[in-house]
């Protein structure tokens, strides 16, 4: 407890405090604006670490709960209801960790309308943390929808050439998914007279008959956000057009909101429907893994390549989720963190290259390692982490997922995992090809000979990520200890339903 307020409330409030402070700083004072935003996000990260310190490892339930009635309609209350468990804690930490890094990466990349950028960035952080912390469905929806507003500005104002198209497409796709979720939320509220997550869990029987529809209503919103094949078409546009910091947050955190939504709501609230649809979802996930990998391989633009690799990597997360085994679920959560770290770092690297050369075509590079050895070395680690080299973080997540999916009774066939494994190989193909084209070989372009290597600030944005990449890769147990109790509880819940069905 800090200042008598729950840490979770502070997590959401601190970025807003930064927001208010920023309002009073004149827009010419770019330095002050950047520092205030950075400090606000660092303070938020500090609180997130405080939350981690208070978190009881081994307790699968909700912790540090804050609960206040907010809107009372008749006999139903919408509550301001926050809490963390093993599923959300790492997401909260990831959000608080990546935001200051993303802000630091904008130091020289964003020169225009700095004030607006920082204002929206802090709003976005507050909204994302709210999504992972909210346990009341309406509150969740409020945060979920609200994150769209800063994001459309970040893409649309500070993005690339086709930024407006990408921003509007992003907004409309996401909103299309979420309005049906709102319908599902309204229905649940009317049936059970509550919007609280745990109360709904108790009253599952009340809406059991409509499970399939509810699963689809929620699932569409989450599947678009993840994004799952074939709903992914907004992603390459949004990722490519977004400014570097926007891409980092988009890939690192916003996509996880969809995967997290499946874990938090679809699985526990609609377990029969989950079991029924698991092979379909896993099938789409496998298609996404292969399709994303194949399309990534075909790209000439590094940023597009990384964007499509997200489709592939998130496919693993969904596969692990719908394996419905404790291992698969734990792997999915860990892989969400891993993808946030690796892909976030990849986008940072692409941003650094772009700042120097103002192009992202692989053909414009080549032999960069010779010119920028520091960037080359760091990029190698990140690339290897992304393709799942043992000893780095990506391997742990993907391996756990594949193991979980292989043994899954819900999927009923080891082939899902078997085919998905091909995706691991493909990832090595397209990522190493990219690395080779950009960093290895002779320096093909004269203008590349004089590129300055990373400065201290840029190194500082990558190093924390690399530390975690090695840490998770070599000693993942502390992370799994955080996840496992909740993952096991969730798997047990779904499996008990499966037993009852037989």
């Amino acid at each position: 407890m800090i200042l008598g307020m729950n840490g979770l409330v502070w997590l959401i409030a601190l970025p807003l405090v930064g927001f208010v402070v920023l309002l009073f700083i004149p827009s010419e004072a770019k330095k002050a604006l950047r520092w205030v935003a950075l400090l606000a996000s660092l303070a938020t990260f500090g609180v997130a670490l405080g939350v981690l310190a208070q978190f009881q490892v081994g307790n699968p339930g909700l912790q540090m709960v804050v609960r206040q009635p907010w809107v009372r309609i008749g006999d139903v209350a919408i509550e301001f209801y926050l809490g963390v468990d093993g599923l959300s804690l790492l997401m909260v930490l990831l959000t608080a960790f990546l935001t200051p890094i993303a802000i630091l990466s904008t130091w020289s990349a964003v020169e225009e309308r700095v004030k607006g950028f920082m204002l929206f960035f802090l709003l976005l952080e507050s909204g994302m943390l709210g999504v992972f912390l909210a346990l009341d469905l309406v509150l969740f929806y409020v945060f979920w929808e609200f994150t769209l507003v800063p994001m459309i500005f970040l893409i649309g104002v500070w993005g690339g050439e086709r930024r407006v198209y990408a921003a509007v497409k992003f907004f409309l796709f996401t909103m299309f998914g979420s309005v049906l979720m709102l319908l599902g939320i309204l229905y649940l509220g009317l049936q059970t007279r509550t919007f609280a997550w745990d109360a709904l869990l108790q009253q599952r029987a009340v809406f059991a008959a409509a499970q399939l529809w509810l699963f689809l209503a929620f699932g569409l919103a989450f599947a678009i956000k993840v994004p799952m094949f074939p709903l992914h078409t907004w992603l390459p546009d949004a990722h490519v057009e977004a400014p570097t910091a926007g891409s980092v947050i988009l890939a690192g955190i916003l996509l996880k909101m969809g995967a997290y939504g499946f874990l938090r709501f679809n699985l526990p609230l609609f377990p029969q429907a989950t079991l029924q649809l698991a092979p379909w979802m896993a099938g789409l996930a496998v298609v996404g893994i292969l399709y994303g990998a194949a399309v990534a391989y075909a790209q000439q633009d590094v940023k597009k390549l990384v964007a499509y690799s997200s489709v592939s990597h998130l496919g693993f997360v969904v596969l692990g989720t719908f394996a419905l085994t404790a291992q698969g679920l734990a792997g999915a959560v860990l892989q969400m963190v891993n993808h946030g770290l690796s892909t976030g770092a990849l986008f940072l690297i692409v941003g650094m290259l772009y700042e120097r050369r103002h192009t992202r075509q692989m053909s414009a590079f080549g032999g960069i390692w010779k010119v920028m050895p520091v960037l080359g070395a760091l990029s190698l680690v990140v690339t290897l982490s992304s393709l799942g080299l043992p000893g780095l973080n990506g391997f742990v997540g993907e391996f756990t997922i594949l193991l979980g999916a292989f043994r899954s009774t819900a999927l009923g066939s080891p082939w899902f995992a078997g085919v998905a494994t091909v995706g691991v190989i493909l990832a090595a193909v397209y990522l190493l090809t990219m690395f080779e084209k950009v960093f290895l070989g002779p320096v093909r372009h004269e203008e590349n000979r004089t590129l300055p290597d990373l400065n201290a600030r840029e190194v500082l944005t990558l190093v924390p990520i690399l530390v975690l990449i090695f840490w998770i890769g070599l000693y993942p147990q502390p992370f799994l200890n955080l996840i496992n109790p909740s993952a096991e509880q969730l798997a047990a819940l779904v499996q008990s339903v499966a037993m009852a069905a037989h």
């Binding site: 907010w70 809107v71 009372r72 309609i73 008749g74 309308r113 607006g116 309406v138 929806y141 409020v142 945060f143 929808e145 609200f146 769209l148 507003v149 459309i152 500005f153 649309g156 104002v157 930024r163 407006v164 921003a167 509007v168 907004f171 409309l172 909103m175 299309f176 309005v179 049906l180 709102l182 319908l183 309204l186 229905y187 509220g189 009317l190």
Partner: protein
């Protein structure tokens, strides 16, 4: 006529007297002192608002049940009066710079508001018709107030012709109802229906006629054709006033009459309401997509919003959700009213003489160049889209909740999907404001800023405490016989 009768309609009576006084005063005031009239009108509206709010909690009828007073009327009357005040603020500078400031503007405004209030309190079908005309005729004049601009005259003529047409429908409906029940007072008709002395076929036909007539007033599809042209041609402060107050008045009389007179006809009327609501949501939103003029865009947006409101009214015959329907509609009217008035204030700020400054392109660069005005417009567009942390989100939330509670999931799905469509055209305004470079010309006007910032602040801040607003709407119950 006793004193207590007069007390029931005191705000209306006050406004009428005040309007006549202002008309006379206009003759004596020198030209350069015209501004006084606006201030005096505002004073009159403020006093009437005070009188109106003082009546909250009271309930009763007067003039032999010709008019009733209930919290429903108090709530809506306050909405009309506030819209009137805002319209005055929007017009204060606008009328001068467009060189159309004439004293009649203020009197017409007051007459129209008095008509709306009377319509809301009317408990007799003849009085309903009189009040409807009383609110409409000054509006025809106001729509044409930018004479000799052709669009304004066209707007007035169109509004007048179609308005007269719709009044005829209402009158015909009243005649049919009278024929069916031998009664024109609401209480009498209800009694006749209850005792089984009503010819149900004619009664249903009458109800449908009323629906058509009021459908014109609230601009529901397929009776919406006049709205875009009239909204575009009328002086912008008048448009803002019509978009909020007239629409609210149309819904007020719709709610009062249908809940009172025809709960038994719900089985026959519900499919009609269903169709009109669905059509209005779909057509309003689809046509808004194609607009490149901000006034027309907001006109189609107001049509679409009528659809959302009607959606909640479809289950009016279902006693379990009827009160919820009314309160969620009143909430929505308030949310929509605040948002729309603010948006019209921004439109007025950008409008130039001869109808320039109204194209969407004229908003390019507004966000960075005029941060305050840009942010307020952003808030209004988000609120109209229904994005959380605005009042518009809760408005939609409660409306859709009513529809789902009544079992109209199909309508709710249509409503939700069309609101995704609406996101596209509201976003276009945002995109142009913030993501296109430009040099917008903005009129600096303290009153406009006050309205824009005040309504934007209300739209955001009230969304944090929506329940207090909802309770206000929930207390605004209709007095049922």
């Amino acid at each position: 006529m006793t004193l207590s009768d007069v007390m029931m309609v005191l705000p209306i009576a006050f406004i009428l007297v005040w309007a006549v006084v202002l008309l006379l005063l206009d003759l004596w005031l020198p030209r350069e002192r015209r501004g006084w009239l606006a201030l005096l009108t505002a004073l009159g509206l403020a006093v009437a608002l005070g009188l109106d709010l003082a009546q909250s909690g009271r309930s009763g009828s007067a003039f032999r049940e010709m008019v009733v007073l209930d919290n429903f009327a108090v709530f809506l009357n306050a909405l009309y009066l506030v819209s009137g005040l805002v319209a005055l603020a929007l017009g204060y500078d606008y009328l001068k710079r467009m060189e159309i400031e004439r004293g009649e503007f203020y009197a017409m405004m007051l007459f129209s508001i008095a008509g709306m209030m009377l319509l809301t309190q009317a408990n007799h079908l003849i009085l309903v018709f009189l009040a409807l005309e009383f609110l409409s005729i000054p509006l025809y004049v106001l729509a044409g107030f930018a004479r000799p601009r052709l669009e304004s005259e066209e707007a007035a003529l169109k509004y007048f012709l179609l308005g007269a047409f719709s009044s005829a429908f209402v009158l015909y409906g009243i005649a049919l109802i009278f024929g069916a029940t031998a009664n024109a007072s609401v209480t009498g008709v209800v009694e006749a229906v209850r005792s089984g002395n009503a010819e149900m076929g004619f009664l249903t036909a009458g109800a449908v006629m009323l629906l058509v007539g009021f459908g014109f007033k609230v601009a529901a599809v397929p009776f919406h054709e006049w709205a875009p042209d009239v909204y575009q041609g009328a002086p912008t402060p008048v448009t803002g006033f019509m978009a909020v107050a007239t629409k609210a008045a149309g819904f007020a009389v719709l709610m009062r009459l249908f809940l009172n007179l025809f709960p038994g006809l719900a089985a026959n009327l519900t499919p009609i309401f269903w169709g009109v609501a669905a059509l209005t949501m779909i057509v309003g939103n689809l046509l808004a997509l194609a607009q490149s003029n901000i006034k027309r865009l907001l006109a189609y947006s107001s049509i679409a919003n009528a659809g959302y409101l009607l959606m909640a009214f479809v289950p009016y015959g279902n006693a379990q959700v009827a009160s919820q329907a009314v309160s969620s509609m009143l909430f929505y009217l308030l949310a929509y009213g605040l948002t729309t008035l603010g948006a019209w204030a921004v439109v007025v700020a950008l409008e130039q003489a001869e109808g320039r400054g109204l194209a969407l392109e004229d908003y390019a660069g507004l966000g960075p160049k005029y941060p305050w005005l840009g942010v307020t417009m952003l808030i209004f567009m988000l609120s109209l889209t229904g994005v959380p942390l605005t009042l518009g989100f809760w408005g939609k939330f409660f409306l859709f909740r009513t529809a789902v509670a009544a079992g109209y999931v199909d309508l709710a799905i249509i409503g939700l999907l069309t609101s995704v469509i609406s996101a596209y055209y509201y976003l276009r305004v945002v995109v142009i404001m913030y993501m296109r470079p430009g040099e917008p010309k903005v009129r600096r006007d303290g009153w406009l800023n006050l309205v824009a910032i005040g309504t934007a602040a209300a739209v955001v801040l009230l969304s944090v405490v929506p329940v207090q607003v909802l309770n206000l709407a929930a207390q605004a119950v209709l007095r049922l016989p």
